[in-house]
Amino acid sequence: MPWFIQTKSERDARKKASDEMWIKCSKCNAHVFKQDFINNLNVCPKCGWHGRITASERIGLIIDIGTFKELNETISPADPLSFVDGKGPYPAQVEAARKKTALNESVVTGAGKINGIQVAIAVMDFRFLGGSLGSGTGEKILAAANYAYEHKIPYIIFSASGGARMHEGVLSLMQMAKTCAGISRLNEKKIPFISVLTDPTTGGVSASYAMVGDVNIAEPGALVGFAGRRVIESTIKQKLPDTFQTSEFVLEHGFIDMVTPRKELKETLYRILSFYNR
């Protein structure tokens, strides 16, 4: 066989190796060396598009090494409604999410330091059932708020969620009130609450804790909004522009304080926290 003809298996092997080494940016379609993308914190080196990162990657990025102490890591979803949908029973979907992520819920909570400043944090992980807000999620976010309240330390929530978790019905809706009640107590005690909105922050999460930070910060290009784009388009019978419901859109309309690239996030959080004078 001539040297320039490949068998199918050779072709597949080459393609696989190439897939492992290169990725295509979802925004600019540029082929990017995968290691460069990872080294750049899952941000496209060509166009600056911010890909999603996991909760543990986020914690590694923000919290000083060796200072993170996780809280309530065993809390996991129950099945209060015995819910079964088109994809099957809810517990099976939870099990699949746990296997995929090695997490028990859609949020990781705990305490740690940012350049030496002690904070309580909650970091949502979109891979776990779309980062949806369920009872376990709400409980962990409230418990971390209560930790901040008791220790009088600032609280930071990193949101990444499509909204309330339908599989737990109204109990999920109630998590919006539950988490906000925790934030309300921080206000009463004058404890700072910073909300970081990452891709995506929509529905019941944007309509609860994510939008009521003393300071709201969003990552560039994140989807941030209340109602789904398709729902709005069918209501107003108009195509919406691509820039609709982005970080930049909500900045322009006055609902967030700044859009901060991932690389500068830790320093920005530190700077805002360092002004706290109590």
Partner: protein, 316 residues
């Protein structure tokens, strides 16, 4: 009157009763015993149907075009209603209104979703789907009630907050989120009655209350059954399946600890007797106002915090 599918047998019996009444007045023969028997049967049948509504049938009753709306409750039970307008930022949302009123001998601030009775009213009131300025007005009125030291009564009846471009621009999410946060700390009693549709965040935005009451055939849901079916079944025609799965009826929600009390409706549903429905609502609210009026503001807000802290079911 508009009939729902499952109401048709009842309507037919009602016709038969009417017919018999005419016959009994026309004819000399005494049919009153027969008439009486048929009327009893009709009542039994109504009870049976309405006690065994499926979730999907309950959705239809909750959305019934003749179901009493805010203006009915204002007419029947909220005397001296003094409407207060505007959010002081952008506008006056007609989909969510409020003002001072007398409920029996109690001074209250009543706030509620404002559906209409006909197309014209509904267009003006955006079918009871508020925009951000509605929620901001509601919060302004709640703060005013706090200053005046009068309890807050909210009546929930909305398919949801309005999903529109202007709402997004003016911060629909922020407006609801702000209400959830601020309501947790309001220092007067807050009582909520879900009278029809409790549609997701649009309902919750005025429903962080010390007591949440639900009319017997109203619904309260994280998402509309149609919306849920579209996402989780990828087919909106599974709405009745989704309605069942989401556990949106008053009885289910009482079992789940989301609501505190069910207010009974007249046999045959609220739409058959709006005045009686309003009386039942009034009685339930007054009873609950008494329960919370005696608490100090600290006790009240602590209790509210504990109530919502306990919401949800998970594994430790």
């Amino acid at each position: 009157m508009e009939q729902l599918d499952f109401e048709k047998p009842i309507a037919e019996m009602e016709k038969a009763v009417e017919k018999l009444k005419h016959v009994s007045t026309d004819a000399k023969g005494d049919l009153s015993a027969q008439l009486h028997e048929l009327e009893l049967k009709l009542l039994e049948r109504k009870k049976e149907v309405y006690q065994n509504l499926t979730s999907w049938q309950t959705v239809q009753v909750a959305r019934h075009p003749k179901r009493p709306i805010l203006s009915d409750y204002i007419q029947f039970i909220f005397k001296d209603f003094t409407e207060l307008h505007g959010d002081r930022c952008f506008g006056d949302d007609q989909a969510l209104i409020g003002g001072f009123a007398m409920l029996g001998k109690e001074k209250v601030m009543v706030i509620g979703h404002n559906k209409g009775k006909n197309v014209e009213e509904n267009i003006k009131r955006n079918f009871g789907m508020p925009r951000p300025e509605g929620y901001r007005k509601a919060l302004r009125l709640m703060k005013l009630a706090e200053k005046y030291n009068v309890p807050i009564v909210t009546l929930v009846d909305t398919s949801g907050a309005f999903p529109g471009l202007d709402g997004e621009e003016r911060g629909q999410a922020e407006a609801i989120a702000r209400n959830l946060t601020e309501m947790a700390a309001i220092e007067v009693p807050i009582l909520t009655v879900i009278t029809g549709e409790g549609g997701s965040g649009g309902a919750l935005g005025i429903a962080v209350a010390d007591a949440v009451l639900m009319l017997e055939h109203s619904i309260y849901s994280v998402i509309s059954p149609e919306g849920c079916a579209g996402i989780l079944w990828r087919d909106a025609s599974f709405a009745s399946t989704a309605a069942e799965a989401l556990k949106i009826t008053a009885k289910s929600l009482l079992d789940l600890g989301v609501i505190d009390e069910i207010i009974p409706e007249p046999i045959g549903g609220a739409h058959t007797d709006p005045a009686q429905t309003a009386e039942n609502v009034k009685e339930a609210i007054l009873k609950n106002i008494k329960k919370f009026a005696a608490l100090s503001s600290t006790k009240l807000t602590n209790k509210r915090f504990e109530k919502f802290s306990a919401m949800g079911k998970f594994n430790k």
